[in-house]
Amino acid sequence: MSNPTKLIPTPGQTVGPFYGYALPYEKDRELLAPGSPGSIRLQGTVYDGAGHAIPDAILEIWQPDSEGNIVQQTGSLVRDGYTFTGFGRSAVGNSGVYTFTTVNPGPTKPGAAAFISVAVFARGLMNRLFTRIYLPEDQEALAADPLLSSLDPERRQTLIARRDADGGLTWDVRLQGEGETVFLNFEAGPAFEGAAAGGAAQ
């Protein structure tokens, strides 16, 4: 049906403190088996505005495979151990650290900056936040990226992961304050997330 209807989206709400017996599932953070060829560790810590690691956040990642293909295979919840689906979920532990086993995403177009899409949920966080994790290596692609080039250099850095000595990636989330992570609004118009950003729409 050609449908001109524009419906107003249902509001989000906090994930609350009790997602821990519902959202996590077996191998939720293992997009590949740890130690398998090409696998890397992606990890980081989630901090609040006082600089404290928070123990009750949960992150989701969604990414292309190492060739830059967007995978449309089922099996993210019940993993067969072989199929890379591109989706993972990791609750942080007591020290605020999340961990994924995944691959370096490939660029989805030649010359594009490769990134992982992220959704952040936490107790005390009223609505989920979207952001991105960019790979640090391809300076030319990073410089040409439309999102990164629209940010101040300091803020831009919050979206770029560090490469670890073991080949993995480290990327922290700072919900508030110094080094606050850049969070994204994909909706056009001020009335949507604009108002949600601190109620400071005006």
Partner: protein, 291 residues
């Protein structure tokens, strides 16, 4: 798998480990009363109503910065969300299928040997995108307290009984028309430590995926006519009454099944699509026309 959580939780929001019936005693940090909180909630609501009257746009989402929910104070970004055009991976969603979710996972009343205590209900509706198209074949996850207002989560120390026949977790995959349906038990109201004598209205947590990752949301569904609505800082963090109403299910006698369960209907709308759909995608399994 239940994840470990930190002891910080106990001092923040949760009712502490307590002897049964000790819950009514004043709690250590929670010297703020409901009257204090209600005054704050009303002041923010009144300011919004004035702004709306002066031509400000309606707010359709919760405020990230909403101080009456005390745990949000250090957890909301202070900078405006940065506008970005979604690209590539963000314009697609993970694919979920019947490999991922068994059909019986949508019935929360049959997960144990016996029947759970409480009022059996059916919660059903459709998941649509902002353009009114059904969101077919996507994952819906729910979790909730039992009929006495207790979560099975081990950090929930509310001295209300656990129900050995109720876990409170369900999943389903939406049908071709975006439909979902869960059979469950009506959850009880739940006390927490935001302030003295703080109670959450009965609610079911919902987690939803759309056809694009930008449509991902986690939210809570409420029941009509709950007396706790004006008192609850989480529900009231959505300052617009019309927007708040979108989280409240309606009683639906057509969904009610004779001598079995009461029916509640709740439709969920995700944000609009940002992707140009190919004809096949737009056709979908529902056989809709392309745009």
């Amino acid at each position: 798998m239940p994840q470990e959580t930190n002891a910080q939780l106990e001092t923040d929001e949760l009712v502490p480990a307590a002897e049964p019936k000790a819950g009514h005693a004043p709690l250590d940090r929670a010297v703020e009363t409901q009257a204090d909180l209600t005054a704050e909630i009303n002041a923010l609501g009144d300011a919004y109503a004035r702004a709306l009257k002066d031509g400000a746009p309606a707010e359709t989402q919760p405020r990230l910065d909403y101080a009456p929910y005390r745990s949000s104070i250090l957890r909301h970004p202070t900078k405006s969300l940065h506008h970005a055009d979604p690209e590539t991976i963000e314009l697609y969603s993970p694919a979920f299928g019947h490999q991922d979710v068994h059909a019986l996972e949508s019935d929360l009343t049959i997960q144990h040997n016996g029947e759970p205590q409480g009022e059996r209900i059916i919660v059903a509706g459709r998941v649509l995108d902002g353009d009114g198209r059904p969101v077919a074949g996507q994952l819906v996850e729910i979790w909730q307290a039992n009929s006495s207002g207790r979560y099975i989560h081990k950090r929930d120390q509310h001295p209300a009984p656990l129900d050995p026949n109720f876990t409170g977790v369900g999943r389903c995959i939406t049908g071709a028309d975006g439909s979902y349906s869960f059979t469950t038990i009506k959850p009880g109201a739940y006390p927490w430590k935001n302030h003295l004598n703080a109670w959450r209205p009965a609610h079911i947590h919902f987690s939803l995926f759309g056809r694009e990752f930008t449509q991902r949301i986690v939210t809570q569904m409420y029941f009509p006519g709950d007396q706790l609505f004006p008192l609850d800082p989480i529900y009231q963090s959505i300052v617009d009454q019309d927007a708040r109403d979108r989280l409240v299910a309606s009683y639906d006698h057509d969904l009610t099944q004779p001598e079995w369960a009461l029916g509640y209907k709740w439709d969920i709308v995700l944000t609009g699509s940002k992707r140009t759909w190919t004809e096949n995608e737009a056709l979908g399994t529902a056989g809709d026309d392309s745009e």
